[in-house]
């Protein structure tokens, strides 16, 4: 069943997340980031940042629910068991830090087919509490054709 291309451009309700220290510590540990600014508030402040920094790919914590919100749209016709992550782009305006309250507005940027594959491109602008864009994220999901095995 092909994806519903009429949903290109559709926006979904915003999702919010507060960046707490425990989540940042756990993420830094998981990605092997031992840099002092990612582990310690004082080290980050000494370098001119307001708080302990989150690693660059930390916004993945928002992209997971962003993608899930879109995948759950019954009008889209997405079988999530056939989805693989094809491409990821981030554009960072500034580093995320502990205490940031972030809001992401998911949007379907593109749906297209290429052979047995379909591409679902999801974009979100992640803004801070002041409404300033902090990160722009683009996730490309590949949907394998029905009956096709994983490769």
């Amino acid at each position: 069943m092909p994806l519903n291309q009429a949903l290109t451009g559709k926006e979904y309700p915003p999702l919010s997340m507060e960046v707490d220290r425990e989540s940042v510590d756990r993420f830094a540990e998981a990605v092997g980031e031992n840099g002092a600014m990612f582990r310690d508030r004082e080290a980050a402040r000494a370098a001119g940042f307001p708080e302990q920094l989150a690693p660059p790919t930390f916004p993945t914590r928002m992209q997971i629910p962003v993608s899930a919100a879109i995948a759950a749209d019954p009008d889209l016709g997405l079988d999530y068991t056939r989805v693989v992550h094809g491409e990821q782009a981030y554009e960072w305006v500034r580093p995320i830090h502990v205490g940031d309250v972030l809001t992401a507005t998911p949007r379907i940027a593109d749906i297209r087919a290429k052979g047995p594959l379909e591409f679902l491109v999801v974009e979100s602008e992640i803004r801070d509490a002041a409404g300033e864009v902090v990160v722009r994220a683009r996730t490309t999901l590949l949907v394998r054709g029905a009956g096709g095995g994983a490769s």
């Binding site: 998981a30 840099g35 660059p56 790919t57 993945t60 914590r61 990821q88 981030y90 683009r138 994983a150």
Partner: protein
């Protein structure tokens, strides 16, 4: 962390230091918990086998985080990483050695921005398999 490269010291063709790690099941589980991506493809061998893999695979974002770390370790400045666009071309299995690196492709003296092509690779059955290719990072150097 080594000394930060200055813009004037960087030339097209320069490699960035390769970063290497062995991908362990515990780390992939830790990444699932830290990122919130609890897809069973990354935790449940039986599930992974049901969709055609020999066992669980690492998250694409686990690999991207490793590539990002290679870049930020090179520039030594958390605010210097401006953008990254990564294509996932092959899966990564447990206990494989994942390498990440890159090469300077362009420099812009006006903005002090440097474009780096980035990659991630594993050795599998004697062959080098690119898990990440046709991918770039944009950084700004002092």
């Amino acid at each position: 962390m080594t000394t930060r490269p200055r813009f004037e010291d960087v030339q097209v063709g320069d490699p960035i230091p390769v970063r290497s790690k062995v991908v362990r099941r515990e780390e992939v589980k830790a990444y699932a918990d830290a990122s919130g991506d609890q897809n069973p493809l990354h935790q449940d061998d039986a599930f992974a086998q049901s969709v055609g893999f020999p066992g669980i695979i690492a998250h694409g974002m686990f690999t991207m985080a490793h590539v990002a770390k290679a870049v930020t370790d090179w520039i030594g400045d958390p605010a210097g990483l401006l953008a990254m666009d990564v294509q996932f071309r092959a899966v990564v299995f447990m206990d494989e050695t994942l390498e990440a690196g890159g090469e300077v492709k362009a420099v812009d003296p006006e903005t002090r921005r440097v474009t780096v092509s980035v990659w991630a690779a594993v050795e599998r059955e004697g062959k080098r398999v690119l898990a990440v290719k046709n991918s770039t990072a944009e950084v700004r150097l002092d």
